[in-house]
């Protein structure tokens, strides 16, 4: 997969701890690639990844513009192209930030520096760039972190790590966009650490569309202090292999998190969402809604683990996973799991897998809609209920357009519905 010579050729970030890097590389080499015999990887086979030989580290940024992606990226943005920071496209405004390449690893707690999993180790060994965002001021505008990949990324590997710290009582929003402009065979690992101090609030919206041949493995770890609040949205538009591991640790009293996700898998996409929520303090609250729309030969996996510690009485957890399986060549796997060690809790979870509801379809047909349009409306409505959990209205309607294009929904009714800002839930 990755040879010693590629590791040697990989540029070392200035200031980056050489020992840590070397340790991570050595540890990574001794660790076997996870196989389907490992519980956490049983539905995601990495054999093809292992056979793919990557030959290039992060390549030199090419001449891309932000117009190449069908999304308005406002100012206050940081752009990375093929794994490296691109100052020309970036326009940082308010947030106090510095690149890892300037001041590597300034404040990451020791215990988080030691990578544990296979891909975290690879990430630490090969780190190509990253950002440290120290958010001390409230801002009404979201901060965009954009990662673009173009066709020069063929057979290359990129490894990014961001650290986001939101200070006490501060509200902020971050939009992370991973966009593959070409269907290149590449491997991207992404580690994001989020730290919310007391009373902080963060909306983190992650949009991902890697190319159809891309391997994209992302780990997000969030630590929440007392009264802090995290809303995490994960929109995945597919890749050859897209894995999103998200963990949220509710460490302080009254900490709350919302993890929402939408997986739109088609063709041969493979989307693997793994979430873990740890309720470690009393009166913590979590809400999780993940939905998947699976078409063609695609596959969606949802593994949600809610842990309620013995020291977390009066906690509330709600976990829902729904999947629409449109073809019998597609696959849906759902594992909504609860692990509870305290009696004073309220926990529910639910999961469903099925086709479009026949009764809803009949209802729309009886109102004179064609079968095709009725199905499109229902599919869109299914996605929309996740979309509407985002507060940012302009982003919402842009995403609606993305979803419509991505699912090849041609009914004009869909956008009309959206434009009229009709909030009646059509699902």
């Amino acid at each position: 997969m990755i040879s010693q010579s590629l590791f040697a050729a990989c540029a070392v970030l200035p200031g980056w701890d050489k020992h840590l890097r070397l340790d991570a590389w050595q540890n990574w080499q001794t660790m076997p690639l996870p196989t389907i015999r490992d519980e956490a990887w049983k539905y995601t086979n990495l054999a093809r990844l292992e056979k793919t030989i990557f030959i290039k580290p992060a390549t030199t940024p090419s001449s891309l513009t932000l117009n190449d992606i069908p999304l308005t990226i406002p100012e206050d943005r940081f752009c990375f192209i093929n794994g490296s920071f691109n100052p020309a496209l970036s326009a940082p405004l308010n947030a106090e930030s510095y690149l890892l390449s300037q001041r590597a690893w300034p404040s990451i707690p020791k215990k988080q520096q030691t990578p544990v999993s296979y891909f975290e180790r690879l990430n630490a060994a090969m780190l190509s760039d990253g950002l440290y965002l120290d958010i001390k001021k409230n801002s009404n505008n979201p901060i965009y972190l954009v990662l673009l990949q173009d066709k020069t990324a063929e057979f290359s590997t990129h490894h990014l790590r961001h650290r986001i710290k939101v200070h006490a009582g501060i509200k902020s929003e971050i939009v992370i966009v991973d966009w593959g402009l070409a269907d290149t065979t590449s491997l991207t690992t992404y580690v994001i650490d989020i730290e919310l101090s007391e009373g902080a609030e963060l909306n983190c919206i992650h949009l991902k569309k890697a190319g159809t041949q891309g391997y994209h493995i992302r780990q997000t770890h969030a630590h929440l202090a007392k009264n802090s609040h995290l809303n995490h949205f994960n929109f995945d538009f597919g890749a050859k292999l897209s894995r999103n591991e998200i963990s949220a640790w509710l460490q302080g009293e009254h900490a709350a998190c919302q993890l929402n996700g939408l997986a739109l898998a088609r063709a041969q996409d493979h989307i693997d969402n793994q979430t873990k929520i740890g309720h470690l303090a009393p009166k913590t609250n979590s809400l999780e809604q993940y939905r998947g729309i699976i078409d063609d030969k695609a596959c969606h996996i949802f593994h949600g683990h809610v842990l309620i510690d013995a020291h977390a009485p009066d906690s509330i957890a709600n976990q829902q996973n729904k999947n629409i399986l449109l073809t019998s060549t597609g696959q849906a796997y759902a594992e909504p799991q609860l692990e509870i060690y305290n009696q004073n809790v309220q926990c529910i979870h639910g999961a469903t897998v099925g086709d479009i509801d026949a009764e809803a379809l009949f209802y729309l047909r009886s109102r004179g809609l064609s079968d095709e349009i009725a199905r499109q409306l229902l599919i869109f409505g299914f996605a929309r209920s996740i979309l509407e959990t985002i507060h940012d209205k302009s982003l919402q309607s842009e995403l609606a357009l993305w979803i419509k294009t991505h699912l090849a929904l041609d009914s004009e009714l869909i956008l009309d519905l959206y434009r009229e800002d009709d909030h009646e839930d059509i699902n």
């Binding site: 539905y43 399986l325 073809t327 019998s328 597609g330 909504p336 799991q337 809790v345 999961a351 099925g354």
Partner: protein, 481 residues
């Protein structure tokens, strides 16, 4: 609200009522397991060549397996060489009727409240009682014989119906299935065998009481039930065990086969010794139970009430192969003190329009850990498959745990799978409400627990429902109102 309810705590401190050891001379093999042990067991049972060959194959396979540890269970290492793999009550000849059975055995049954005579004549239940590892009494045989039903001990079936055994043994749970099933295949001593011929509806509930008796004797039963085309049978399995200090291993295998339009209803009440309140002793219960709906429109239904054992590792499953076949799983798992249960089901939808229902209720008290683990798998050709799963957990106490680990795998767009789960506790509000109406705490708790389990209890056959309610009650409180 977090203050432990003292009355509730007291109720949870009940001793195991069925703890006693009957002193009977046993014919026991020395501890240890090797190919010779397997040969000795086979020879003692005078088995035909094919059985020995199958056992040895299983033993060879088992030798290369390692014990699985993926379950949410904690227990010390098991020394498989310290277990004696065969123990039979010393009976020179097989008893012809109850009068020939050792009176001490009858006494044991009487202590348990299952007098064979009474059951034979009053309750109309045929009992194939397994005492330790060998069948000592089989009743109602004649009546069943008339209808062509075969209900006998496994060893009798091996002697008298080797063709059926050869055809069906290991066809649902092969000797390569898992660590404990392989071990069972190698060393199983006895069990029950049922064959219902085509079109026959078994007129009574068939019942077997298993008891673990001789000290340090692992019990390895194997049950095989075949319902031929259009047949129906309801089978009851109940377990109680004497109190003892060391852990005992129990690795049973149950195979059910339902052909076209056949129905099998399998009910279990399991009340083996769970260990004392400090978690010392108790039975290790590692069971592989699986049914196969081989024919179209067939149905297999599992109902279980699990109140005993220190460790329970048990996933009664149904393979829905025939079109329009139905699988059901109803379960109440109650754990108290230091008991641990990791139980659930697997429903594998292969045929078209197959349907399955899973209702699991877990109650966890004291320091116990109770886990539901389930798999719903729909294969690509199972058009119109439907599953509904509901698992609820009730927590009683601040040190216990309740966990739900469902797995859903669907490869068919025309299949519908629904899963719901909730976790709650007996609230002070509920107790207060009932107290207000003059119901004391003990009765209130039992009412709430009974209500919680009602969906499952009502699926038990009449004869069993009473005992199951009693056992459920015994594990939590003195009596149930």
């Amino acid at each position: 609200m977090t203050k432990p309810n003292e009355t509730l705590e007291n109720l949870l401190q009940q001793d195991y009522e069925h703890g006693f050891i009957t002193d009977i001379e046993s014919d026991t093999l020395p501890p240890g397991l090797n190919a010779d042990t397997v040969r000795a067991i086979s020879a003692k049972k005078n088995e035909p060549e094919f059985m020995l060959a199958w056992r040895l194959k299983a033993y060879e396979y088992w030798r290369h397996l390692t014990e699985p540890h993926w379950a949410h269970l904690k227990y010390g290492p098991i020394d498989y060489q310290a277990i004696s793999y065969y123990s039979a009550p010393k009976v020179t000849e097989g008893p012809k009727d109850l009068s020939e059975v050792d009176p001490k055995l009858i006494e044991t049954y009487n202590k348990l409240g299952i007098p064979l005579k009474e059951q034979e004549w009053l309750a109309g239940v045929a009992v194939d009682a397994v005492f330790d590892s060998i069948s000592v009494a089989t009743t109602f045989k004649d009546k069943l014989n008339e209808m062509g039903i075969i209900f006998c001990s496994f060893s009798d079936a091996v002697q008298n119906h080797p063709d059926l055994i050869q055809q069906y043994l290991g066809s649902v749970v092969p000797h390569t299935d898992n660590f404990f099933a392989s071990l069972n295949a190698a060393v199983f001593s006895d069990g029950s065998f049922v064959y219902i011929p085509p079109g026959v509806r078994c007129p009574m509930e068939l019942s077997t009481y298993f008891r673990i008796n001789a000290r340090s004797t692992g019990q390895f039963e194997r049950t095989l039930i075949i319902a031929d085309e259009g047949a129906y049978v309801s089978y009851l399995e109940g377990c109680t065990a004497p109190q003892r200090d060391e852990n005992q291993l129990h690795a049973a295998v149950v195979e059910l086969i339902a052909l076209d339009k056949a129905q099998i209803k399998y009910s279990t009440v399991q009340n083996w010794y769970p260990g004392d309140e400090n978690g010392v002793g108790g039975i290790y219960n590692f069971v592989t139970k699986r049914g196969e709906c081989r024919g179209h429109h067939s149905k297999i239904s599992w109902t279980q009430v699990e109140t005993g054992s220190a460790i329970t590792w048990k996933y009664p499953s149904v393979i829905l192969k025939g079109d329009y076949s139905v699988g059901e799983f109803y379960s109440v798992a109650l754990t108290n003190h230091h008991q641990q249960a990791d139980t659930g089901t697997k429903m594998i939808h292969i045929g078209q329009h197959t349907k399955s229902t899973v209702i699991a209720k877990g109650i966890s008290a004291g320091f116990a850990q109770n886990t539901y683990r389930g798999l719903i798998k729909v294969l690509a050709h199972a058009d119109g498959a439907h599953n509904y799963t509901r698992c609820d957990s009730l927590l009683m106490g601040t040190h216990c745990g309740a966990h739900t680990f469902p797995h859903i795998e669907s490869k068919n767009s025309r299949a519908r799978i629904e899963h719901e789960a909730s976790t709650s506790k007996i609230s002070e509000d509920q107790l207060f409400y009932l107290a207000q109406r003059g119901i004391d705490t003990e009765n209130a708790v039992s009412m709430i627990v009974n209500g919680f389990c009602k969906e499952v209890m009502k699926t038990l056959p009449m004869e069993f429902a009473v005992e199951a309610r009693k056992l459920l009650g015994l594990s939590l409180e003195g009596s149930i109102g």
